[in-house]
């Protein structure tokens, strides 16, 4: 048995890193267990001529395709899970689009009642968004009229480039909102990290650390504060004492195969929207008197358009994100559905990726027409994604697989996900709007993609893993309270994407970080009381 910790953090991704840093800097004895190892800058494929091939193999975002040594399988016929198990978690491979949730995202219970209200508001979270921006190091342009006013970004926006200007022109023609995209990427040297050099390898993470890879941005600060980070430590179960509180966790040291128990006064779960419910379910259905653990899984709705214009856009260069448009972000029931969506505008990849179909199945033909297609399309393309707020449904859930296990013999998670009819209507509407954009951009060729299989199954690239241990105001319908404290287990906190009550219309990492920072600072500021808590407060 190792020395008891004040705080045990499980998972070292975005939310675990921030939690560890805040509590470590407060002088607490913090242990963080991470099932993966370190992903060093040189491990990324950016320096290799075969980097696009590696993106299809050991750098594939889906762990089921990648079969990495630190991964666990995920059983699913619907969701293509994006997950990276290593120090820094999925920030090793995300694209760091950094918009915020909007005020109405927190009020869906009031707005339509098909999803619950959060127990907090945008205003509760806004100061933490501002501080996360400075901690993480981001770029963007203040003054977006589609969002509440907030502090400026620590570095200026990334360049608009021909892709952004071309699409901005299309949005102007349509009379729709657009704005340079906020990014978790520094456009100037910042906090010891170099400015983005436009290498365009973003789909395989960022080897430079210009994009906030948390092992290079947040973890150095946490380690400097004395946090005991233990890579290759896979947690097998959380242990409960006779008082109903957690006593700690049993983990496998994957270097030796030995099992250890780590005692702690407080446990923070930061294992992502799949890993966290998996661990709770593996721990005798812990914190689940509401039967909400694993339920309400949200990925966002996603449809896409890849388009090509006559003008050379040099779209194999620069940061992957270009613009956002929040024209359709709020509910308007005259469209035939509730909730809204956001357009993320992106570049088009290097030559290999473009030839096999970068974001849609539109690919170069084989045979005699190959080079003519390539000459016409390469460097002339871009992509627009419509990301929408999918409704939380109890039937969309993470359970434990009866068949698959990980390398340590632990049950794999099993995922069932199907969009609600409301989500399908939103996606159909968004596809029509994507076509509007392609036409307004004077595209000579475009391809729409609905991510439906030949059998009609929505097979989303599940970049976002949300809602599976959601925050709420009532213990009967949620897993954690407004401070991320489990209703059933007062010294358990859940801070990853599973805590989100609704999904919003944007990429969620910024919001996950702001929530984790808020929870960690609350815990820090009340630690003397909370470390001994025997009940979870409704306030």
């Amino acid at each position: 048995m190792t020395e008891p910790a004040d705080v045990l953090v499980i998972g070292s991704g975005a939310s675990g890193a921030l939690s560890s840093m805040v509590l470590g800097q407060a002088g607490l004895n913090v242990v963080c267990l991470e099932q993966g190892g370190w992903t060093a800058p040189d491990d990324h494929p950016h320096f290799s001529t075969d980097w696009e091939w590696q993106r299809q193999r050991r750098w594939h975002p889906n762990n089921n395709f990648r079969h990495g040594r630190d991964d666990y399988p995920v059983e699913s016929t619907s969701s293509n899970i994006l997950m990276w198990n290593a120090v820094g978690g999925s920030t090793n491979i995300y694209t760091a689009l950094w918009p915020r949730y909007r005020p109405s995202d927190f009020r869906k219970g009031v707005e339509h009642g098909l999803a619950p209200d959060w127990p907090i508001t945008y205003e509760d979270l806004a100061p933490y968004y501002d501080r996360v921006d400075r901690i993480v190091g981001v770029s963007g342009l203040a003054g977006n009229p589609a969002m509440p006013p907030h502090d400026g970004y620590p570095t200026p926006p990334l360049p608009l480039r021909p892709v952004g200007r071309r699409l901005a022109g299309a949005f102007e023609r349509l009379g729709w909102h657009w704005w340079p995209i906020p990014a978790g990427v520094v456009s100037e040297d910042y906090d010891g990290r170099p400015a983005c050099n436009g290498c365009a390898g973003c789909v395989a993470g960022c080897a430079r650390g210009s994009m906030s890879k948390f092992s290079l941005s947040v973890w150095p600060k946490a380690l400097e504060a004395g946090v005991d980070l233990r890579p290759l430590a896979r947690v097998e179960r959380l242990e409960r004492g006779k008082d109903g509180r957690l006593s700690g966790a049993v983990y496998v040291d994957r270097r030796t195969g030995r099992r250890h128990f780590q005692a702690a006064d407080v446990v923070i779960l930061a294992a992502n929207g799949v890993g966290t419910p998996r661990l709770l379910l593996m721990s005798d259905n812990l914190a689940n008197s509401s039967d909400q653990v694993g339920r309400n899984l949200m990925h966002h709705t996603l449809v896409a358009c890849e388009l090509w214009v006559e003008e050379p856009l040099h779209s194999h260069m620069g940061f992957i994100g270009a613009l956002i448009s929040q024209e359709f972000a709020e509910t308007d029931v005259s469209r035939g559905f509730v909730n809204g969506f956001n357009f993320n505008c992106a570049t088009a990849g290097h030559a290999g990726g473009q030839s096999i179909g970068f974001v849609t199945p539109a690919s170069a033909p084989w045979g005699e027409g190959h080079h003519d297609w390539f000459r016409r399309h390469f460097g002339h393309g871009c992509a627009v994604f419509a990301i929408g707020d999918d409704l939380p449904q109890a039937s969309n859930r993470v359970t434990l697989s009866e068949h698959e296990k990980d390398a340590d013999g632990l049950p794999a998670p099993k995922i069932a996900y199907a969009p609600h009819e409301n989500d399908l209507r939103m996606m159909r509407f968004a596809l029509e709007r994507l076509e509007d954009i392609a036409k307004a951009a004077d595209a000579f060729d475009y391809h729409l993609h609905d991510y439906m299989s030949q059998d009609g199954v929505y097979q989303t690239p599940a970049w976002h893993l949300l809602g599976t241990a959601r925050m709420g105001g009532e213990p009967e319908t949620s897993v954690i309270n407004r401070w991320h404290q489990a209703w059933d287990v007062p010294n358990l906190y859940i801070v990853d994407g599973s805590a989100l009550t609704t999904g919003g219309v944007v990429n969620p990492t910024n919001t996950i970080c702001a929530l984790a920072l808020r929870a960690a600072e609350h815990l820090r500021d009340h630690f003397g009381e909370l470390r001994r808590a025997t009940r979870t407060s409704r306030n």
Binding site: F47, S48, E52, W53, Q56, R102, P103, S104, F106, R107, V110, E111, H112, G113, T121, L141, A146, P156, P157, L158, P159, L160, R161, A168, E172, P180, S187, N197, G198, C199, A200, G201, A207, R208, P312, H314, H316, M317, G318, Q326, A329, E330, V333, G336, V338, H350, A351, G352, S355, I356, S363, W366, G367, E368, H370, H371, F374, F378, G379, N422
Partner: protein
């Protein structure tokens, strides 16, 4: 022709049907894609993958090396129709391998693009955000504030099946 040479010839013929050369771009076999195809297919599908591919080409009307251009295209077309997943894997390996080649990068540069063999270390000079020209001048966009969120009328959303106000 011994067995190894015949295998190499068949793979070379296959990759050239998929990516033939033209005046500016080399053919796939000229830049050695057939070797990468063999390596990567074996990596993904195991030791029997390449022999299985050769057999499937023969079963579809091959071997390719004995056919004229039209016959080779017909064989690949048959496999694409009958075994689309296998065909897609082979095609993607060939495409990705092809665009790794320095000779192909040179052809892309000749199109007028700056193009590096790998993203790093060089990166690309993409300039900086120009506030004078790149800042949006429109004032479009709005949000519903926390205290302004109101119940929407769900009556028109018949797919909800009633029970919602």
């Amino acid at each position: 022709m011994n067995e190894a040479k015949a295998l190499a010839a068949e793979l070379a013929a296959l990759v050239d049907v998929l990516v033939p050369g033209d005046g500016a771009f080399p053919s796939a076999s000229e830049v050695g894609v057939q070797a990468k195809l063999a390596d990567r297919l074996t990596l993904m599908r195991g030791d029997g993958a390449v022999p299985a591919l050769i057999e499937s080409l023969a079963a579809a009307g091959g071997p390719l090396a004995r056919l004229e251009a039209g016959g080779r295209t017909a064989v690949l077309g048959r496999i694409e129709r009958e075994r689309p997943d296998d065909f897609l894997l082979i095609r993607n390996i060939v495409y990705l391998s092809y665009y790794e080649s320095p000779a192909v990068h040179e052809a892309i540069r000749a199109m007028g693009f700056t193009y590096h063999a790998a993203p790093l270390p060089a990166g690309y000079d993409v300039g900086r955000f120009d506030p004078a020209t790149d800042t949006p001048r429109h004032r479009r966009g709005a949000f519903v504030g926390t205290d302004e969120v109101r119940r929407v009328d769900l009556a028109k959303l018949d797919f909800l099946g009633g029970g919602h106000d």
